[in-house]
Amino acid sequence: MWVYKKSLQYPVKIKNPNPLYAQIIVSQLGGPDGELGASTRYLSQRFSMPYREVVGVLTDVGTEELAHVEMISTILHQLTRDLKPEEIAGTPFAAYFVDHTVGVYPTAASGFPFTAATLQSKGDVLADLHEDLAAEQKARVTYDNLLRLIDDPDVRDPLKYLREREIVHYQRFGDALQIAKDSMDSKNFYAVNPAYQPKR
């Protein structure tokens, strides 16, 4: 089970509201490579993962992603809480505002609501770990793209931190993949379906 800690993982202190930034950053909450999907992916994959060390990585990264959900939500809240309607009208954020006011809602920047269709829990060691490695890289690219579009240092600072976490997670999933490979049956040279082997 989980314990909530009343603290962000990394400080978020944004002084200037900005509807455009909110409109693009929301993708890291509910978008195809966002933190909510990441957490759901890793925490779901744990149950069919046969190696305890790898379960440790999935648990820790999945839990940390929940802390990132909170950080992204905080960024969105601080970017939008003081916006006046006239500052929203005519911006891409207006469509979000109509549906959610300045509440935090998990959606992609495109407006497509959060969906588990962009993540996978395959019940297979190698399929799942490769999915995770790819997911971390895709999330890193999303942060790269956000940093290309955002100038405000108050917003860039936590985004840079989150980008670095994607890189560290990728490294740890790489270690986990190595542990999994080392633990597999050496006869299974082509690494085909090593997780699901029901007894006959």
Binding site: F47, P50, Y51, R52, E53, V55, G56
Partner: protein, 129 residues
Amino acid sequence: MKNIRYNNRCANTWQNDNVRSRCRCDYADAAEVRIAGTKTRTVPQGRDMAAYCEMKEKLMALYFVMTELELFLDVHPENSAAIARYKCAVKEYGELASVFESKYGPILARNSDCADEWLWVREPWPWEG
């Protein structure tokens, strides 16, 4: 303070439930660890297993008391009787958790540092069995 009993209605839910038998069953299976390839630590067996399950259930019951009181206190923050019960549960849970962890391994990852090895990934995960 000592009169506060934890086998109240909430805790009784655990006692009356089939948690006890399920717990034994889970760890009996875990004794022959199905996980291949990685190092695992011996899990409690035999008479020790009964003690393990008893302590684990007591911890779950105490933690549930805390969970329930936290929820209640969120909307009744000045209820001194609930606060007193909560403090008592926190203390009792903390003491029992220390004993449990020293015998059977960490409940929280941060309590793994009492050994040379990271025991966190040597003990079974809760859904194993």
